[in-house]
Symmetry: C2
Subunit: 200 residues, 2 copies
DNA sequence: CCTACCGATCGGTAGG
DNA sequence: CCTACCGATCGGTAGG
């Protein structure tokens, strides 16, 4: 167990509550109770409830971006069947971030709409830029005939919403390990766009 | 345009607001304002805010079940490649219900957790029974070797969360028709589990 | 469907 | 990090 600062404890407790009940359904006193302080005392550590949401969403957005950056730096997308390997690696990276911190990932996926205008707008742009990476991989795969002829935006939306859907059912102590989910989801996503060459 | 009763107007306005801001993020006065009556006047038509949510969720749960019933009655799942046709038809039916009423579908998908204990429990059971239909089709397809060897629960979760994810991005006046989304999603779902016989 | 009103809770501040 | 407190809003009721 890592030592958490009070601020980290608060963000962690808030992630859990926002995950379970949503941002609007969680009061600052709910968060305070979870870390065993008075409601008003929370403001010694955070500027506002909105501030806590922003910290959670910003952090998680960064994790997805960093994971995808690492994939694109490591996986050569230019070679022959590069797009298949790249898509598979992007899927695994995404599943990894989700399963590593299911509560924050869930808040990122579902509660970013509760952000105030400017921050909400920023996250909308970053989410779209992230999704564009998936669209690009699919489009490149279609162009090089590695993938079947699909509509890249629709396909990227299909795959990404399936990946994000993990937050609705994943349990760290459940039947499936994070690794086995990553394996299965990479296979499913790759087959969804691929011309299978008789692997059955 | 169909004439709506006041009660139907209220449910419709509430669906729209719950879709945009969530159940907890919507006040009864927000709903009242949308139908241009006073907050307290809402209670001449509904018993409670919770009652409105329940009506929306119950109705939508029924639509998914009826659509799947119709598919299973119409598509012969017993013949040779029956599972492929059945999965494809179930996907199309689900996409149809979602795109037909995106706001209610969105509330069903995201806000059923805000239901009170007993109703929430009922919906949890009905959702699981519905998902079990997808698990069964996948499992049958694997057994008859129509589908590749996948884990049926994981695969059903993957497909269904992708389908439900439509509520997050679909716009009735957008680039894609409901029909083209159904086509694309049926293809993606089927390929995700199928041994492609060289259709590329 | 309205006005008038209820107690409870909301996010947050003051001052220590 | 606490006590004491703020105005605003919450879901809902009474009585017409």
């Amino acid at each position: 167990m890592v030592e958490l600062t009070r601020r980290q404890e608060i963000e962690s407790a808030a992630s859990s509550l926002f995950h379970e009940r949503g941002y609007a359904g969680t009061s600052v006193r709910d968060i305070a109770r979870a870390v065993e302080i008075q409601g008003a005392s929370l403001y010694a550590h955070v500027a506002s409830k909105q501030d806590v949401l922003w910290a959670i969403v910003r952090t998680t957005a960064g994790r997805f971006e960093v994971a995808a950056d690492a994939v694109e730096a490591a996986v050569p997308g230019a070679i022959a069947d590069g797009q298949g390997a790249l898509l598979s690696a992007l899927v695994r990276a995404h599943v990894g971030v989700v399963t590593e911190d299911i509560e924050r990932a869930s808040v990122f996926v579902h509660e970013w709409r509760a952000l105030e205008d400017e921050r909400r707008q920023e996250i909308a742009l970053r989410r779209d830029a992230y999704e564009a990476r998936f669209r690009a991989v699919v489009a490149n795969g279609v162009r090089t005939r590695a993938f079947v002829c699909v509509d890249p935006p629709t396909t990227a939306a299909y795959i990404l919403t399936a990946l994000n859907g993990i937050v609705a059912w994943y349990r760290p102590d459940g039947r499936l390990s994070a690794r086995s989910i990553a394996d299965a989801y990479a296979d499913l996503s790759l087959r969804a766009v691929s011309i299978d060459e008789g692997a059955g």
